[in-house]
Symmetry: C2
Subunit: 582 residues, 2 copies
């Protein structure tokens, strides 16, 4: 036995007990002939006191930070108690110590406010993982995992493992593929999600399935995307949308209660996709604050201001209480919307001054009466500031959605400790992919159209109107999960594939097993998948999922600690019957 | 709501309640103007009674097996109760039914004793999964998963996810590799186990880690091996072998108690690897029965029988009570040992007849006294049969080990309901790979030599003598888990790599991150991994792990349901900068 106790558990009640501890040296402090050491392990920190004779030993065996120590000694009451740590009342009067391992000086400090940069910490991830902050994040992740499992177990969901070496079906994101040696020139694919498997499990009668499972997407990585990520993947049979929303709202509440101690008494609000787009400019509204988008087109046009007249969309928001914004602040906001990520050419403002007067950047075209109309439409009062963007519809809406979030941020409306969940429902079934010149599935090709709109599936020109029982759960402006009621009839699934431009042969080749399964008594079913990494990061009050993954990859998909990916031996290539192209 | 109750929950107490059920048609039985339907779901079977008017409806809408039905009706007491099922006291008097989906006639019957062959059931796995037997297996797997998690959670182990896209390190089995598009001509590997990651987590101070995790090995598949399989992967810090054995013996007992209701009051027996090889001929003895191997060399040699005289090993077992074996039975056993899998040229027997006389197939060379010596060495009594093999040491030992198991089988000693766990300890650190002409790691290159034998690491000629604190947990002759105390010192790890024939550069290239980690205060640590599929199959009383995997692959690594692996598009190959060799 290397230890009798951990570094987190000794209290006054253990006083005068002989103990053995093991852990890492956090700090060494010498005071004359006495040395104090803070010994750390996963469970806490305990102070060690080394008296004169051991001190002499230390002169021959110098101790540094992160050395691994084993000590024997007696628990003693501290004279100088430390009320900030649970073990702060006691220290160990050490009688014997063994250096189990030494340590070089770490390349950065193992502290919350470390001096290590991102790259360095990724390279020495095993040291970064020692930091309290990271440990808390991974502990939170583990607790959320358990909380989710406990909830789903209690609701009759079965954890069933689905395979990782599956079939490549280039639809949706790009697959990672795995060459097969035993089946030369053929490849497996890594799953983008267990979608078809969980549906097959419903066909097989498993009724309620879940899995906390790794998924893979070979996409160009935007900031904070990972090529491998974890989903809480769930599916239920004999349900409609309401059953699923109720079940997973309860799960979300359960996790919040257990992890954050936050109780949601009310049902989560629900918003249609159309309203979300109209009032928030995107499909994952941050409803911690209002500041809704207002279409000002009618008021704006026909006043000789070319930008308004030629705009597909003129849209405003009311930044309440901001009428005192200075020239400089407004210029800065204008620069902000002109950044390439936002892509607007300018920003129009209307100040509704506290004295009731109005002042705008378009005074040339609008008199006070005209400006007042804007104010009325935006529900603005004296003291408020109206910000207006105009231009191509899609870009302008997106820009205004971003500007709204930016203003929310600046005005302190986006408090990380306030959680506002929301269901966004009634997503469109299809969306048009301009580049590919075809309709693609908004969610995925297994999502069912709303039953009352089934007939529109026969008329491609109506595809844009079809809605689905598809839903996202949104938390503070971030999608944390999404799902849908699925197609469970073979003919409808075939119609769907055909609507997506797949030939019968292609559909059969790629999804023959699913179409086959639908011929043998498939039940109505639906499901949802939560982005586990993202959910954890929001619960942890962070925006960076990397902080909640033990061994994350960087933005080029590299594990810089392992130095992976890397070249492989020619033997391996030969066995796989592959050759590399330069 | 598609249903008010499941097909497994209605009892007499629900009588006269209106209910809605949904499920699959198991059977349809017509009796004149009445039809009985057994409706099935995951939870059970409930009998439906369709009266005259609905019967007429059935004439227009014929119902077949595996149709998906929704019915409304009233719970009624049955006249003909079925005591064999929990719902057998009641039936539903149906007032309304809806066919939710139809089904073609399944290609095999959805019953325990299905008429479907292996290939067919693999192709239609989603139908095979409907069979009760398979459902019970997957349910057992889920329960074991939960039981293991609950135990490990309660012991302070943290579930931490490790990456799937890692670095290829050709050592041990062959890696599956994943070409990287973003890092052209470079490859990730899929993990054969999270070995190095769990060790890094120990270096990071996580103290107790576990994961139920998929692992991958691209090996030629023997029967009942899967290219992807699941491990219960665990690691602990500041422990010696005793801590690990105690912890995971407790876990195994916990699982047996919860899943099988079996209590092990005694500690699991422990056997050294040397004893296992000596007395059972292999490193995973089935100790449900004795029938130990006895080295008969001294007695056997020097009697003029060439086969004995030239043999490296003459080894016997005592098949107690088998002296009455007929000529035919003995011939058959001889054929059995001559099969290519066993590879012996013959079998020698000594019958110790009930009358005390002895008769053997080598009477020409041994008189009764000589034969009695064999009997004494084998602890044989009148009525017993001694079976003897002779030949090259390794092959003969292996063959005798197989013959022992075969005899155990024939004599009914290998009862599936009897569970005899065993720790095999003190494995050799190295074994010599003749083909490669070098020493390889018996367990893996991270296993520590026994501290008292450390000095032998400097002398290659002594490598064969070095033992490790490495252990396997064996259940009824099958290894269900194995692990070791690890190396945690950089210099020892380097010495180990060098003993395995790795140059310093190569070691640095492949395992630089681990060697680096060992420089920053690595704690003593060790761990174990259980083969989860195998453990479940043993608990389920089956020898086929495939029966405990939802979507298994066949012996060529193919998923015949998906038809994977398969060819991929040229576009995909181009993006990956790969070309195929014929």
């Amino acid at each position: 036995m290397y230890r009798s106790h951990t570094c987190g558990e000794l209290r006054m009640e253990h006083a005068s007990q002989p103990v053995t501890l093991a852990g890492w040296v956090q700090t060494v402090r010498k005071f004359g002939s006495i040395t104090f050491i803070d010994l750390r392990d996963r469970y806490g920190i305990t102070q060690l006191l080394l008296g004169e004779s051991l001190n002499a030993q230390l002169d021959n065996q110098p101790l540094g930070r992160e050395f691994v120590l084993q000590v024997k000694g007696t628990v003693t009451e501290r004279t100088n108690k430390n009320p900030n740590i649970p073990t702060g009342d006691v220290e160990i009067t050490v009688s014997e110590f063994t250096i189990l391992n030494s340590s070089k000086t770490p390349p950065f400090t193992i502290q919350d406010d470390t001096d290590g940069g991102d790259e360095l910490r990724m390279k020495y991830r095993y040291l970064d993982l020692r930091r309290n902050l990271v440990k808390q994040n991974l502990t939170l992740r583990y607790r959320v995992n358990r909380s989710v499992r406990n909830f789903l177990d209690s609701r009759g969901f079965m954890d069933i493992e689905t395979p990782y070496l599956i079939k490549s079906t280039p639809e949706g994101a790009r697959d990672f593929v795995v060459p097969s040696r035993m089946n030369p020139n053929q490849f497996y694919a890594l799953p983008q999600s267990p979608q078809t498997f969980k549906q097959l499990l419903m066909v097989s009668g498993y009724d309620r399935y879940y899995q906390i499972v790794k998924c893979f997407r070979d996409e160009d990585l935007r900031a904070d995307r990972q090529p491998e990520f974890t989903q809480i993947d769930c599916e239920m049979s004999f349900v409609d949308q309401e059953d699923i929303l109720t079940t997973f709202e309860a799960m979300t509440k359960h996790v919040f209660q257990e992890i954050k101690g936050i109780t949601f008494n009310e049902a989560f609000p629900r918003m249609t996709w159309e309203d979300a787009m109209k009032y928030y400019g995107n499909d994952k509204p941050d409803i911690r604050f209002e500041m809704k988008l207002v279409d000002l087109g009618e008021t704006a046009r026909g006043n000789g201001f070319k930008i308004f007249d030629e705009a597909e969309l003129v849209v405003g928001i009311n930044a309440a209480g901001c009428s005192e914004y200075t020239r400089k602040q407004l210029d800065e906001l204008t620069e902000w919307v002109k950044r390439p990520q936002i892509g607007m050419t300018g920003l129009i403002y209307v100040k509704y001054n506290t004295d009731g007067s109005l002042k705008s950047s378009v005074d040339k075209f609008f008199n006070e009466e005209g400006l007042k109309l804007f104010a009325q439409q935006c529900n603005a009062n004296p003291g408020d500031l109206i910000l207006i963007l105009a231009g191509k519809e899609e870009r302008t809406r997106k820009a205004m959605s971003e500007l709204r979030l930016e203003m929310g941020e600046r005005l302190g409306y986006r408090n990380k400790d306030v959680y506002k969940p929301l269901w966004v429902i009634d997503f469109p079934l299809f969306e048009y992919a301009e580049e590919e010149n075809r309709w693609v599935a908004r969610h995925h090709p297994f999502t069912a159209p709303k039953p009352e709109q089934l007939h529109l599936m026969d008329t491609p020109s109506e595809y844009g109107k079809i809605k689905a029982n598809a839903y996202d759960i949104v938390l503070n402006g971030t999608e944390i999960g999404g799902g849908s009621i699925r197609i469970f009839q073979k003919d409808l699934q075939e119609k769907m594939f055909s609507a997506l431009g797949m030939s019968k042969e292609e559909a059969q080749h790629k999804f023959g097993f699913l179409l086959g399964a639908f011929e043998y008594g498939a039940p109505p079913h639906g499901g949802i998948a939560f982005g586990f990494d993202r959910f954890c990061s929001l619960l942890g009050g962070s925006e960076t999922i990397r902080d909640f993954i033990a061994f994350p990859k960087n933005n080029s998909g590299r594990d810089v600690m392992l130095d992976a990916p890397s070249e492989i031996d020619q033997v391996q290539l030969d066995e796989l019957k592959l050759s590399l192209l330069k």
